[in-house]
Symmetry: none
Subunit: 415 residues, 2 copies
């Protein structure tokens, strides 16, 4: 079967000038890969008519599917729409349904629909309008000689919604694709190279039609198995049995499969065990609570948290004993134990967790360097602590410490 | 003066397949922009001979400087070096100085120089070897017909070192560059199109050598002015005076200039006014506190926060009166006023802010739809509330509500 080839075309000076990082194209690559579309090129051009038109023509020669992001705003530097009309040689007209959707969008937000905004519903007559449910610029789908041009806004969440709801299903319908089956195995608390050593014999024994990729993130490594073949059922069962064989080698690091992040796995475990949780976080400054509450339905197990950033707040509001704080300092094992136990008691939850550390860049002492973080887990059976030595980067430390707490919860919850 | 045009060419399947995000090209764009080299295109191709050779030829037609990263490793899928030799039609030879440097590199790390590694010193005879002080693959500088091809490793810190130490100085020597000056104006609380309407006369009057771009984000829009000319001082003063003329048109939405985000601007204002702040956040679940504490030094003004997610915690821990909660519900103006006032009193800060809303997807009622959020600001002079109707997307609501609170702080702080 012939591969379907795609080119990702990003339009915007802000990417050429380095003012934003293009994360869209990575996400799109992954989603296209899942359905068997092969990305052969990524191109970025600026807001310049001749550059954009040349890029259209070059991409049409190379690829079957050209996915375009950016340049769809209502302002004068947004050229994608008029240039697509020019490239496909068709006029622009007010699109009645798009205008209705736009009007409803503005109404639902209590905002006035200005003349500039109305231009968003002006579309080339030779394209199919693709609804943008969460933004103002509709997507545009063009077909010519069996090839597809699809233009989407560059705003990541709008692009993702349009891709998932419309573009992926339409591509699957239009093209005959090989069967591709993926399985993602999620690990936490182990580095990429140590994990790779642990599973190297298993990896070497993989058959040629099943590929393994390591996708490292903060504190976690995703393993992606990709099988290509003809029968989805056969591929699925083959991949299932291969993924079971990892369990004896690295099972203790696996927290789940697929797209659900660690915070969702923790939420599921708490729900199943009918346990509630509260948080006392100092150096993570709210980010741990944010991760937990980013999961829909988290109000069923997360009751609340306190961020006792200041010394006085640690004592007066949370209730850490002054003598503990004074003797050991805020970043210490005795203090972190108090924080976890106290928040659990105060907020009347089954589980309490806590963080305290030096996120940086300031606040370090010779004994307590930037990146030193204490974390604790407390329930009625036990209190568990961990001392972490993270990096010198503030944001990275905040995120890595939060992930470490989630992992500590995973490992410490009653069986 | 003619602009010097650059194309950034990234080679590697791992980027096409979405296994890594290309952050190199953003860094390179910024560095090139600083010396007046205009990046006109970014291209990524896979480890495929024909794709790479085509990309070389296309880039040579368009650009004066072609900066290539990736594909310089010692393994068989690394094609950049042999293909550059082929493209420039010259043979490869062992480069004595490169071999010396390579031998010293391995010796300094106590590692053995294998035959595979030795291949790193094999270079096309038509290039100038560029020393890689912190890695094994040297850079290669080619010139033909006044154009430059420069190949570097894809490892970010090696690429950055080679760019800073060698490529940037060599480019400045070889080409006469125009001067480019940027200014970024940061706005919040106004949509792109309404902002564009407000400043349209000003925008239309911009001289041709000064360009304006709109860069929208969640709750905010950046305006970027880019001037190109000969004198940096003249451009800077011209852009300064142009940016002052926006103030009467949209000054109330401008929170700052340059790269510092809104949370940093709020932090600076609190520091200057010697004010402290505390947070009671419900629907934002910790994200507002995270934004505030993501700023280094925030412990100087942020004392702490509470996330009273559960009804009982709102009453017992924060102290919202049960009769207020019962009569008006958690998502209401009377409750949000209590939350902001109470956290300010309890945490003994100058300012208290609060959020309460339906982040979604669950929790809505006919009167209180998903996306309804109340926010409040409280200090000793006044209490200010806002009712927001946001989207149906949980994470977006969390982020947009947090930004709205930061903006409310900006607008409400004592003058």
């Amino acid at each position: 079967m012939k591969s379907i080839l795609a080119e990702l075309l990003t339009i915007g000076d802000e990417i050429l000038y380095g003012q934003i990082v293009d994360t869209n194209s990575q996400w799109m690559s992954i989603e296209l890969d899942k359905i068997g579309v092969k990305v052969i090129r990524k191109t970025t051009v600026g807001d310049v008519e001749s550059e954009i038109l040349t890029a259209f023509a070059e991409a049409e020669k190379r690829a079957d599917v050209i996915l375009i992001t950016g340049g769809l705003g209502p302002t004068s530097d947004d050229l994608t729409k008029p240039l697509l009309a020019k490239y496909f040689n068709c006029e622009m007209k007010m699109h009645a349904e798009a205008l209705e959707e736009l009007t409803a969008f503005f109404k639902s937000r209590g905002r006035e629909l200005t003349d500039t905004n109305k231009q968003q519903a002006l579309l080339p007559v030779c394209c199919t309008k693709i609804t943008n449910a969460i933004g103002t610029a509709p997507g545009m789908w063009f077909e010519r000689n069996g090839k597809v041009f699809m233009a989407m806004p560059g705003v990541p969440y709008e692009m993702k919604r349009i891709m998932s709801d419309h573009v992926i299903p339409r591509l699957k319908e239009k093209f005959e694709m090989p069967v591709i089956v993926h399985k993602i195995i999620r690990t936490v608390g182990i580095g990429e190279s140590i994990l790779s050593d642990k599973i190297s014999d298993w990896e070497k024994a993989l058959p040629p039609h099943i590929k393994l990729a390591y996708l490292p993130g903060i504190g976690e490594v995703k393993l992606r198995l990709t099988g290509t073949g003809k029968s989805e059922a056969d591929l699925r069962s083959e991949i299932e049995s291969l993924s079971e064989k990892i369990l004896p080698l690295a099972g203790e690091y696996i927290f789940g499969y697929g797209e659900d992040p660690l915070e969702a796995a923790i939420g599921k475990a708490l729900l199943e065990k009918k346990l509630t949780i509260s948080v006392a976080e100092s150096c993570t400054g709210g980010y741990l609570s944010h991760l937990i509450t980013s999961v829909p339905g988290s109000s069923n197990y997360f009751l609340g948290s306190m961020v006792p950033y200041d010394y006085q707040i640690k004592m007066r509001q949370l209730g850490v004993r002054p003598e503990v704080l004074e003797q050991y300092g805020a970043v210490s094992e005795p203090t972190i134990i108090e924080m976890a136990n106290i928040v659990r008691a105060k907020f009347n939850t089954d589980v309490g967790v806590a963080t305290s550390g030096i996120a940086g860049p300031g606040g370090a002492t010779p004994e307590k360097p930037v990146g030193l973080v204490w974390i604790a887990y407390s329930d009625k059976y036990h209190t568990v602590t961990r001392k972490l030595q993270l990096s010198t980067d503030r944001l990275l430390n905040i995120k890595a410490a939060s992930i470490a707490v989630l992992n500590l919860i995973r490992l410490s919850l009653p069986k």
